[in-house]
């Protein structure tokens, strides 16, 4: 699965996710990636999120929307919201990760697995990539 979250110069946020799903999926199984609020979500003034992992758990936790709700309603920072959301996914058995961005373009990664291919760039910082 691949995903992106962005803040543009006008202060607008967007998120997108794309995937082939999981190897050997059957019966028309659909994971969280195309489910708005589960694997993908964006709301100006709050956050933009794209998730990757065992999709069923991200759907049950409304993971992407949950990050934004934690920011808007609970007043958490984007880092706290990303971390607590991925812990909530893990608490019911799911694993994976997510990227999140707040209204100011602050980036956070939440991860409860061994690694996630990821990267950032902004008006002030050069391209950076990480895996583990």
């Amino acid at each position: 699965t691949v995903g992106a979250a962005a803040l543009d110069q006008d202060g607008h946020l967007a998120a997108a996710t794309s995937t082939g799903g999981t190897t050997g999926k059957r019966w028309g199984r659909v994971g969280d990636s195309p489910i708005i609020g589960a694997g993908t979500y964006a709301k100006d003034g709050a956050c933009a999120v794209s998730a990757t992992g065992t999709g069923e758990y991200f759907i049950r936790e409304s993971a992407a929307r949950q990050v934004c709700d934690r920011v808007l309603w609970k007043g958490q920072t984007i880092a706290e919201a990303a971390q607590d959301t991925i812990m909530a996914v893990g608490a019911i058995g799911g694993d994976g990760g997510l990227i999140a961005m707040d209204a100011a373009g602050e980036v956070a990664f939440g991860l409860n697995d061994l690694g996630m291919y990821r990267g950032t760039v902004s008006a002030e910082t050069p391209i950076r990539t990480a895996i583990f």
């Binding site: 691949v2 962005a6 110069q9 997108a16 082939g20 190897t23 993908t40 990227i99 991860l111 760039v121």
Partner: protein, 170 residues
């Protein structure tokens, strides 16, 4: 003016010992190429929606990542692709599930968002919508990569053995 972009290329059991320096360099190059594309959009004042779409198209075209070309196989040995996009400014969203012929599914998701009254289209209908809206089509064979096919064979061996114990040992 401030702008920012973050991406992921999938998560999971990525073990340091099993990721060769060459492979790691390929992944980092793929991520950097995608970031560069998005950076070019945002730096010129492009929209966040344009940026995330452009960024993901690069990753979808890169066979290393599980999206577009390089997607994993279903149990039936085909590629079924899902994608979504959401505009934070308008709360509009578009998504597709189980599509098989659109070269860049993220662009099809965007077409659903901008050119239909719907949010989620699936399978045959989404494939048909893609043709009607003029998105680039490919033969499903385009999505094939040998490593993903090998992963399916390993999955089949493990799961068929679990179902049919007679053939557990070949």
């Amino acid at each position: 003016k401030r702008w920012a972009l973050a991406i992921h290329g999938g998560a999971g059991v990525i073990e340091r010992e099993k990721l060769s320096p060459e492979k790691e360099a390929q992944y980092r190059a793929g991520l950097s190429a995608a970031l560069s594309r998005g950076q070019a959009v945002l730096d010129k004042g492009g929209t966040a929606v344009d940026a995330v779409e452009a960024t993901l198209r690069v990753l979808e075209d890169n066979p290393l990542f599980n999206a577009g070309k390089g997607a994993v196989f279903t149990a039936d040995g085909v590629n079924e692709l899902d994608a979504a996009i959401m505009d934070g400014a308008t709360q509009k969203a578009g998504a597709v599930a189980g599509v098989t012929r659109t070269k860049n599914p993220v662009s099809l998701a965007r077409a659903v968002m901008e050119k239909s009254p719907h949010v989620l289209l699936a399978r045959d209908g989404a494939d048909r919508f893609s043709v009607e809206k003029g998105l680039e089509q490919v033969d499903p064979q385009y999505f094939f990569t040998q490593p993903r096919w090998d992963q399916l064979q390993a999955w089949r061996a493990k799961n068929l053995a679990a179902v049919d114990q007679t053939h557990l040992f070949g």
